[in-house]
Subunit: 118 residues, 2 copies
């Protein structure tokens, strides 16, 4: 699970959509941020990440990956272009894994209080 998380964080910066498809189960769900409508299934997940990549997304872990049961939680930040500004958001993601080691669900915890212009 730690290797998958590190690969995921690298992929957010390298914009490798094929790697994203390797990481997630075909019927996975992505809820980003928590409380919003989830993206369900690979087509919706691809579209979500391609949108992110188009903002020159970069990501970096800021602490341990915490593994517990079939889950992993990890703190990181992303930076991305938002109009004329570059934004930074502090995020915590929680992944759950299926029996094949694919990510079955992703929940991203962040809100207004975690956003700043850089």
């Amino acid at each position: 699970m730690v290797e998958t998380v590190k690969s995921y964080i690298g992929t957010l910066s390298s914009h490798d959509i094929a790697a994203i498809q390797e990481i997630f189960a075909a019927d996975a769900t992505v809820e980003d941020p928590v409380g919003s409508e989830p993206h369900v299934g690979m087509d919706a997940i691809r579209e979500f990440y391609l949108n992110g990549f188009s903002t020159k997304l970069k990501a970096e872990l800021t602490g341990d990956v915490r593994c517990a049961g079939n889950s992993a939680a990890f703190p990181f930040f992303v930076t991305f272009d938002a109009g004329p500004s570059r934004m930074r958001v502090e995020v915590i993601d929680v992944f759950t894994f299926d029996e094949k080691g694919k990510v079955q669900s992703m929940k991203a915890y962040w809100g207004e209080g975690n956003c700043s212009v850089v």
Copy 2:
């Protein structure tokens, strides 16, 4: 939610069991670590925290509290006595809140890879 989290982290160090009872809903669940049997209801939650306090527990946030929907996720570490050793564990907790602002569920993400002797 941020204030409740900061109060919670303070309480883990001050060992104020009355404050713990203020923070959690009467029928709350505490799953620590994720994948273990949850503690359900105030009596079980009290017992869980009193056990923790008996180890000279201390806690400190290590990053932003991330609020999203009715949830908050936050990274921190705890230190505690384990026999002759002092242990440190890197944790991420996820709280969900009820409509009264009480914590309805707590999930603690941590595993062996997050533990060290200090």
